[in-house]
């Protein structure tokens, strides 16, 4: 069962100190966005990277971030966004 649904406001974890293989990119750390869709559940790449089976599968989301939120000096369109696939353990509910 996935914790988040499309439309939910979420925030990426701030703590990126874990070792190993991570698929959440640095530039969205501690940033708030909105769940655009639930992609399904997939094996955990952080474990697959070390020849583990990656189970249980983790829910994967596409999260939409406003460029203005990601880059303080963003000079493109006001509505420009980036959408990033992020695994559930990297997301917390965001305050409204």
């Amino acid at each position: 069962m996935s914790r988040f649904a499309p439309g939910d406001k979420v925030r990426v974890l701030a703590d990126f100190t874990r070792p190993g293989h991570v698929r959440t990119p640095w530039y969205c750390r501690d940033k708030a966005g909105v769940v655009e869709r639930v992609c399904g559940a997939f094996r955990n790449p952080e474990a697959l990277a070390y020849a583990k089976d990656g189970l249980p599968e983790l829910p994967l989301y596409r999260v939409r971030f406003a460029q203005r939120e990601l880059w303080p000096d963003y000079r493109g369109g006001a509505d420009d966004v980036v959408e990033i696939e992020i695994y559930e353990p990297w997301l917390l509910p965001a305050e409204a």
């Binding site: 698929r23 959440t24 992609c39 990601l70 696939e85």
Partner: protein, 224 residues
Amino acid sequence: MHDDHTDGAHDHAHDHGARDFQPDLEDTHPFTEAQFLETALRELLIEKGVLTADELRGAIEFMDGRGAHLGAGVVARAWTDPGFKARLLADGTEAVELYGIPIRPTHLVVVENTPAVHNMIVCTLCSCYPRNLLGRPPLWYKSREYRSRAVREPRAVLEEFGTKIPADVEIRVHDSTADMRYLVLPMRPAGSERLSEAELAELVTRDAMVGVTVPRGPARATAE
């Protein structure tokens, strides 16, 4: 074996077969360490029964057969068949499989350009790309410059590709960080109403399906 690629790439996939382990004489530069390593690795794996030369040859031929022409056919179908387009946007993999291109286990997400939204695809962490449909990604897609800047300044990147998107159009950059792979469904160019599906497909380039360009319109009719 000659494959058609709408971006004009010419390939010549041939393998010298199981009996001939020599580095390929068509490789044009003097052999680098990495080339020696590839040869040694391949021979060792074949000797140990982990792989066969046939399997490798088959995989090369499979990837050589993938290319922009496949994606272009899907786009042209979506432009002419609203039901197909709806299925494509709802479930890209399922729609493309039904269209007749086996791409599983790829999870394909198709994102649509509209007058309000322009989509662009990148993989900042490595080079994830819808290979089973479009083939191997271009060099620039894998470059530091593209991977770094596409999420940060997409409009400047688009301008480097000669693409100007109006400021009031939303640019949506998709960072292919996990299990999804992306295809941009460009807008059908104006003036293309009378073209056949095959002619429409010729307007669709790989770069348009990655989202760094838009398809050109049809050539102007000589008699207007």
